[in-house]
């Protein structure tokens, strides 16, 4: 058994498991840190930078979803600086592709939209990109709109680590990165996809969705952690 680690989060003493991340420790102790690319049940990615926290004694900020706890650590989860950084992260994601909430399936149940509200992102300070990726409607049940993708890679991790197939991955790099099926095939023609739907259940925005269903019914953020829990008990 690993030994417990004592640390403080926002002045509150908490006990964490060795090897646990700051975000996990905070959540288990009922403390809230906003996060986006993090998904319980699969590996952490550390990409979106929404979950940044400060550590006493360091000038930098750290993504709490990938920073392991250490004994005596003093974590600050809320400050003017952190709010400023989180706002930038959300703003940049909103500006990166044409996120038009009013015509999006995820409107009302979108994690990015919720974060924008929560962080007070009421407008964008940078110009928006109007990408024109083709919407992939070739799968009989699912749809994929890359214009709404925020590259959080939840779907990729879920497909690889939970379903065990790795149909999805990223192609190209940088701002041109795109989530693909197999060799950038249309979804309906993917030979490896099992049509399990876990990717759309985990998508925080409206990029992957079930055709003809409101996202509020499709989104099952806890599905993955539930599956993993069941598996570990077997």
């Amino acid at each position: 058994m690993s030994k417990p680690v004592e640390l403080t989060i926002d002045g509150k003493k908490v006990t964490a498991k060795e090897g646990e991340t700051i975000l996990e420790a905070a959540r288990r102790n009922g403390l809230y840190i906003p996060a986006l690319c993090y998904l319980e049940g699969v590996s952490s990615f550390g990409g979106c930078r929404v979950c940044v926290v400060e550590l006493k004694g360091s000038p930098r900020v750290f993504a709490s979803c990938v920073t392991p706890v250490t004994g005596g650590m003093e974590v600050v989860t809320d400050s003017e600086k952190l709010r400023r950084y989180r706002r930038w992260a959300v703003e940049l994601l909103l500006a990166e592709r044409p996120h038009v909430c009013s015509v999006c399936v995820a409107n009302g149940s979108c994690e990015l939209q919720q974060l924008a509200t929560e962080l007070g992102v009421d407008h964008l300070r940078v110009d928006r990109e109007w990408t024109d990726y083709e919407v992939d409607l070739t799968h009989e049940r699912f749809a994929y709109d890359p214009n709404r993708c925020i590259l959080c890679t939840r779907c990729i991790r879920v497909c690889d680590e939970v379903e065990g197939v790795h149909t999805l991955d990223l192609m190209l790099r940088g701002k041109n990165s795109k989530v693909i099926f197999d060799l950038d095939e249309n979804w309906g023609f993917s030979r490896s996809c099992t049509s399990c739907g876990k990717c759309s259940a985990s998508c925080p925005v409206g990029a992957l969705y079930v055709k003809g269903k409101p996202l509020s019914e499709v989104k099952k953020k806890d599905l993955v952690s539930f599956i993993m829990e069941r598996r570990s008990e077997k």
Binding site: H99, N107, G108, C110, G120, L124, D127, R128, T131
Partner: protein
């Protein structure tokens, strides 16, 4: 106390934000007591007046005429409020930005492809901008009220704050998009 000079403007948008504005119900009467509506699509005023205290702008900037009007609004207004998502970030109006030659394409779709009579773009239709712009891509915006449309309650709260001379804080109270 002198009444606040209030203006509302309708650029490229669906007028839903104005509907929501009117939806304030009885609060609109309160507002009428405190503010004088000096320019609005629901009032018959031709030119945008000078010395306006608060201007609510609905819609994005879609053509040259609106571009010039918005600049004038900015010059003549003390506080400029972007009302609703089209004004804040382009929203549906700006969807054509994703199309190649979106400006020509939407006119073609409206006046040629979908027209059963008199196919062709009428001359009096103003030339569209290549790219639809949110207000803050053109001028400085003082207050943003997101939402499609923003709900009446929010509009009313924002106006109240402004009439009281305070800067409204919207964090956590609006719905982005």
């Amino acid at each position: 106390m002198a009444k606040i000079r209030l203006a509302t403007v309708w650029l490229s948008g669906c007028s839903g934000c104005h509907m929501s504005f009117l939806d304030q119900d009885e609060k609109i009467l309160e507002l009428a007591g405190k503010a004088e509506l000096v320019y609005s699509p629901i009032a018959d005023v031709k030119d945008f007046p000078e010395n306006v205290d608060v201007t609510l702008v609905e819609g994005a900037v879609g053509n040259e005429e609106q571009l010039q009007l918005l600049k004038k609004i900015r010059r003549n207004s003390r506080i400029l409020v972007a009302l609703g998502d089209c004004a804040v970030n382009g929203n549906v109006t700006a969807l054509r930005n994703s199309l190649r030659n979106g400006d020509e394409e939407v006119l073609k779709r409206a006046y040629v492809e979908n027209a059963s009579l008199n196919q062709g773009v009428p001359e009096q239709v103003p030339r569209l901008l290549k790219r639809v712009l949110a207000l803050n891509e053109v001028v400085k915006v003082d207050v943003y009220v997101p939402g499609c449309p923003p709900n009446a309650e929010l509009i009313s709260q924002v106006l109240n704050e402004l009439l009281e001379g305070r800067a409204p804080v919207l964090e956590g109270r609006f719905k982005y998009g």
